[in-house]
Amino acid sequence: IAGITQAPTSQILAAGRRMTLRCTQDMRHNAMYWYRQDLGLGLRLIHYSNTAGTTGKGEVPDGYSVSRANTDDFPLTLASAVPSQTSVYFCASSAEPLSPQHFGDGTRLSIL
């Protein structure tokens, strides 16, 4: 079934550790996105990529980095995790930047 695959589904991580959240899509979409969802705050955009080879900062980019080496993959890296990065992280993709987005089922990350 076509869609977005995120891994891991959940993770508990010690503060200060490095962590990469994986995201792969098989729909050949040009644009991809990372959001975090926190209770009471809704979804906030972390980073985005409108096409392979390009990335941009969203609303809350600090502490996170991304790369887009090819069309299908869009990993999100926490260089040195902090407790405030405890959240549910969603990867999404869309055919073009203005198009409807398809979401993965999220990664639940707890930083202790």
């Binding site: 977005i4 996105y33 959001y35 009471g40 705050l41 809704g42 979804l43 906030r44 955009l45 985005y48 409108n50 941009g56 969203g58 609303e59 969603f90 999404a92 930047p97 203005l98 409807p100 987005q101 398809h102 979401f103 993965g104 089922d105 999220g106």
Partner: protein, 112 residues
Amino acid sequence: SQQGEEDPQALSIQEGENATMNCSYKTSINNLQWYRQNSGRGLVHLILIRSNEREKHSGRLRVTLDTSKKSSSLLITASRAADTASYFCAVYSGGGADGLTFGKGTHLIIQP
């Protein structure tokens, strides 16, 4: 910063009744989208309405857009228990290069 703001935050109705959720936003938009999120899952796109459109229908869903009031509404007719979920509005502003800006959502409960 949060653009879309949904109202009410929570809504509980009887099965078969209609459910109306409202969304307000702050700046000019290219399009406005509504998404549904079931507990523990990713968001699912429901409907997109462009800034030059006033109303759109999709099955039991009806969306209206009033750009003069910077507001939108989502109507779900003849509700079913399976419609129980959180509903989010999201807007594309600017050139669409910065992803969607989501509201905090309306949690809808359909009582059987």
